[in-house]
Assembly symmetry: C2
Homo-oligomer: 556 residues x 2
């Protein structure tokens, strides 16, 4: 079997102008980055403002497992299938972070015959968006420390600086650091830490801002910490909102690439789906929505994390009106949710499969609660047995769920046609009545509980002393009306990553609530959520190289 | 008077294909980044290998002062003048670092009517080269700390890790840090520090490597620290040379842009001229040399720093054969070298000017010692008086020096025609006999002394205990045959930044010698050389923004 990189290299890519032409995107709005990538000027929006909005399809999944679900692969494969069926379609994905690419994943651009290309560019530096966010985030840190060094007019309390530095790498040694050592010429010693860039509030802002004006306003609203009186200090107070906006000027433009079958793909933004909302940028999704009849987009991790945030945060803030949801599962992953260990996944196990389906069941209830119709996509793996597939199909029929087996990894769009037909039929026949799961006027506790109970299935929410204090302070400062962005493990519906399947009778503990005022939400941390991953013992990077033709090796 | 940014915006830029056409560069080798920037594939070198080498002109200067000399401006202006005179010409410059742009400088792309454009892109993220170097540098740090965390098979001594992290910012709070705090799950606590990216050995490597193969070999040779037995640990030992090469795959390709008058400009690489060699990349200089009859390039800081390193390091390693040198000075800066304070520079002062000329005199002796003919370029400022200009001209005539007054800032190429004619005449009439100032077979001490005495004019070299130990160890490890890269203040010929003019009877103290084996030299630190600048009280960033048309504001 060919590697993803080998398949991607076999593909005869079309010039990016041809892809743009397909959707009526005038070349005047393109800025090429090589022959197969382009940034698209936001000026195009004025010219397409009277176009109808596309039917927006969200691809989400069960709780991820080490077995792999292939959500990006299904997203790309579905879009390719819709194109094969004659529909006008585009897809909207997130930009891979270099950290996981160099660490475990080796790539994040779909797989097999359902990939976005040029995969090696997209997986590495792409058009530099994430690097620009790193630069803006760390410039802000430098401005903060310089402000303190130069006299600290704003009386910033060095013990209460909440703004962290970032690198777009998995680097656990940077989680907790002390900076400013070396005496009076080097600044003020203080505790600090680094997040991975995709966990930066600036990434969340870039992905939620609707235009440059909104981008600058959001950047100015960022709270970097507190002064010695306990009042918030913002980017606006530091007078650097303009400089940060300038640093993000190009990064804010959506990127256009293509799938292996020539579907236009807008890959833009890549916020973490725990600490942030985990979705493609609003500007990219809106642009795609004006250019094609259908837009297929994905959200990070499972329906309880990225899916919930796509609907409660992104769709609400951006006035999006999703028409249908695809919930991706694999028989392997469902068996893990049913208690099978990773090394036994190749053995048929219908009983475990049926147990594991409780995880899928919960996510279907969640999507229904948002007022949205859904289709279940079973992403086929070679070890799946007919008996297992039959058991799953029967289970879906018994529940009245639409389900399609997809084989987009091996067959590209052809392997997704059954799914595509079901999705189109669902949009045409079922009326979506999208509504967020909570009103912004509710209290922060009510909003947290709405997500914890309706989405996770928790019976109870506990608050640490810190979280109770945080919530009181946030309400006092006038931030009680913002949405909540729950930071939770992706592996479980609960806040304990070991509890697979559908945990019951559990409590969600809110450890801390942090204001992300620029992004427009309150981050509520549950359990031990890491905002800086570590590298494994054998990082994917050890296999990376260039060959004699100066082409990439080791990406997958 | 219009700002640099306003002048740059008035310019009608040519499509980058047109600029490439001018020098016979086939479009197949171009990868566009927007309409006015392109990366050029190194594959072009095979097609032009039989072309004659260009006449290479190095632009250097007296020791820089806060009065400003305008070396980049003269480099661009000279190339524009040569084009006006009908010559086939290109220029080779360094990429601006974001740190100084956001800090003091606000930009580094020449000035007035002698700029490279699009200046806002070049000054900000450009084609992402420096970000790629940041990523590669910090990925190496993450690999080192992960190796230790995962069991430390190589027995790396955490107290002797010499590889530092980097950010492309001025951020003094990161000069000395402690990483790895937080307990057993976060790694091993240790001292670390951040350099500015342009001070990374990876930047020096990218600028000296001759092809991909050489790039990878150099990366593998980097010493990241020492094991508990005191032996060097390299990138090759960590098995990540391939991954670092892959991360630099695109960054290694030269960037093509244009000057305001349409001269092709290869802007590539930007190593610091103290800790590194401070020159445009070898691949860019060699590419330009095969495409035009004349190549004008610059080196960082004065002739004692960047100039010396261009000749002793870059030209030697890359077998370049420079034909002439331009030494830039201004009457203002010469008066500062003659003892005038910055706020009194607008007053005529022939006596101070004549005193200050001793600084210029030393640099002419240095260039002559390298066997190269030179022309002095006086970069005109509006406050210069006729009397001062006359005194300077007379001084040059008395010494038999060629001199031209240039006004390229206000007049573009037209203001550099006198200089251009002199330079061409010099190349045609004077035979350059370039020779480095020391042989590699000399001992490290002899090489250090050759530079200290012949270039700086020192009478004596002192070595700290540390430096003495360093040199002994380096010789023992077999690195005694490398060149020396002197890290010294740019403001003085001595290692004391307060000693302007031409200091005499002084000693250079070597504080420390560090191996940069990938770059292929030993860095010898004198005085207090900072590898991470700080921000001023009012950073240039405070004035930066975007306007209603989403165009940059505040770059200059």
């Amino acid at each position: 079997m060919l590697s993803d990189l080998a398949i991607a290299k076999q593909c005869q890519l079309q010039p990016i102008e041809t892809i743009a032409d397909q959707v009526g995107l005038d070349q005047a709005f393109l800025e090429q980055y090589g022959k197969h990538k382009a940034k698209v000027s936001l000026d195009v929006m004025e010219t397409v403002k009277d176009n109808e909005e596309a039917n927006l399809i969200l691809v989400t999944s069960i709780n991820p497992t080490p077995a792999g679900e292939g959500k990006s692969t299904v997203t790309v494969g579905l879009a390719q299938a819709m194109k094969q069926l004659g529909h006008s379609v585009s897809c909207c994905l997130r930009e891979p972070s270099l950290g996981p690419v160099m660490g475990l994943k080796g790539g994040a651009t779909g797989g097999g015959y359902s990939q976005v290309v040029p995969m090696e560019d997209i997986n590495l530096h792409f058009t530099g968006d994430i690097h620009a966010i790193t630069a803006a985030n760390n410039a802000l840190s430098a401005f903060i420390d310089n402000h303190i060094f130069q006299g600290n007019e704003l009386n910033i309390d060095v013990r209460r600086i909440t703004w962290k530095r970032v690198v777009d790498l998995n680097d656990r040694a940077l989680r907790q650091v002390i900076v400013g050592l070396g005496g009076v010429k080097q600044g003020m010693p203080r505790e600090d830490g680094f997040n991975i860039t995709v966990a930066s509030e600036i990434m969340a802002i870039l992905c939620l801002a609707t235009d440059y004006d909104d981008l600058k306003k959001r950047l100015n609203r960022i709270i970097i910490g507190y002064n010695t009186s306990g009042d918030p200090v913002t980017v606006e107070d530091l007078n650097v909102g303009g400089a940060l906006t300038l640093l993000l000027k190009e990064a804010f433009k959506p990127n256009l690439v293509q799938t292996l079958e020539g579907v236009p793909a807008f890959i833009h933004g890549g916020p973490f789906a725990n600490i942030a909302h985990g979705c493609n940028s609003v500007v990219a999704t809106k642009m795609a929505s004006k250019l094609t009849d259908y837009v297929v987009t994905e959200a990070g991790f499972g329906a309880d994390l990225g899916g919930e945030k796509f609907l409660n945060i992104k769709a609400r803030q951006a006035n999006l009106d999703p028409k249908a949801v695809v919930i991706v599962a694999t028989i392997r992953a469902l068996k893990m949710h049913g208690g099978v260990k990773k090394d036994q996944l190749n053995e048929a196990n219908v009983e475990a499969l049926l147990d594991g389906l409780q995880n899928l069941k919960k996510h279907t209830e969640t999507i229904a609660a948002f007022g949205l119709p859904f289709v279940i996509a079973i992403n086929k793996f070679t070890a799946d047995t007919d008996e297992e597939i039959q058991a799953l199909t029967t289970w879906c029929q018994d529940h009245g769920f639409k389900v399609a087996l997809t084989d987009v990894w091996a067959q590209g769009g052809k392997g997704g046609q059954a799914l595509a037909k079901l999705v189109v039929e669902t949009i045409e026949e079922e009326q979506a009545t999208f509504r967020p799961l909570y009103h912004l006027e509710m209290t922060l506790e009510e909003k947290i509980e709405a997500v914890a109970k309706k989405v996770y299935g928790a019976t109870h929410v506990d608050y640490s002393t810190q979280a109770t204090e945080d919530i009181a302070r946030l309400k006092e400062q006038g931030y009680g009306n913002l949405g909540v962005c729950m930071a939770k493990t992706q592996y479980s519906l609960s806040d304990d990553p070991m509890k697979l399947g559908r945990p019951e009778d559990f409590t969600i503990t809110i450890r801390e609530c942090r204001p992300s005022i620029g992004a427009g939400f309150i981050v509520c941390l549950t359990g031990d959520v890491l905002t800086m991953p570590g590298l494994p013992k054998e990082p994917a990077a050890l296999k990376m190289d260039i060959d004699d033709q100066h082409q990439a090796i080791g990406l997958f």
